[in-house]
Symmetry: C2
């Protein structure tokens, strides 16, 4: 294990700038490893889950939705934010049902990852969902989502073409072995 | 191609909340597909590149650094923000040299992806860098980075164990075929 002690920064001040519906923003003052002062902008996020729902035929359920920050409709794996204090696995079951209408009898954790550790603390817990049972989907009132099913070959092609361009989805599909 | 027109939101107002060193924050009011009004918090980011530097031996150069938002030292592929108007490929060459001291004679684009399309417009352009030539590294004055070289087997193990937990790095290593 390499020596990391030469890399750490020490927090000396923190200014809260914004408290939002989904994210908060703060600006921290830190002492850098060379003793100088630096400023770090931090987006606070509650954390999230992403799910690869695999059908018995070996196909994957993806969701298509408009993402306002990028002004585009894109394809992603089902995903959603953690409610306060919510267990990530329970969140994965809930979000899968809300966005796709499917319940999973088998849920396997693939990894947990930071999406943007340079400016945010968002962590996404990634799951593979199998043995799916269909029921009704019931998205949040401000979510508008189309559900679509793709074969592994179609997914490979959309990764190569760049149509699949959402980082969490790329990680999730890769770690699921799709 | 499915019909996306039922998914789009229409911008009706935008409030600028913060202009920072790295990110800006705004809050937009939108008309949702059902005609109701919604609020969207948007973190504006200049975009970035991530690079998988592959040595002639088939090993990968990773960087270890402290990430203040998550309070941890983590391993990542070399990466960095685009300067204003900068070509992504030129940025990849520059960041690779700054963070690792290596220049690449062969650079291949792997994909472009959105890290967090739910709350930010950050796009990361991902490159594979080969035919490396070593020179001096010269990180930014507020960057403190250790450079380390790993075999593909070590990287697989760190993906399975969760030690490699940075989303852009996981995508980049996967698409590079590591």
């Amino acid at each position: 294990m390499p020596n990391d002690t030469d890399l750490y920064e020490k927090l000396t001040n923190s200014e809260r700038l914004f408290e939002g519906k989904i994210i908060n923003l703060r600006r921290d003052e830190v002492i850098l490893p060379n003793g100088r002062t630096g400023m770090r902008e931090v987006v606070e996020h509650p954390g999230a889950v992403a799910i690869v729902p695999l059908t018995t035929e070996g196909n994957v359920i993806l969701v298509r939705q408009f993402r306002h920050p990028i002004g585009q409709v894109i394809l992603e794996v089902p995903a959603g934010k953690l409610d306060s204090g919510e267990d990530p696995a329970a969140c994965a079951v809930r979000e899968l049902a809300e966005e796709t209408g499917f319940t999973a009898n088998t849920l396997r954790k693939l990894t947990s990852m930071y999406t943007t550790p340079g400016f945010s603390n968002e962590i996404i817990h990634v799951y593979l969902a199998e043995d799916l049972i269909e029921s009704d989907k019931h998205p949040d009132e401000d979510e508008f989502i189309n559900t679509e099913i793709y074969t592994p070959e179609q997914i490979h092609q959309m990764i190569i073409s760049g149509e699949l361009c959402d980082a969490k989805s790329l990680v999730a599909l890769c770690l699921a072995g799709i």
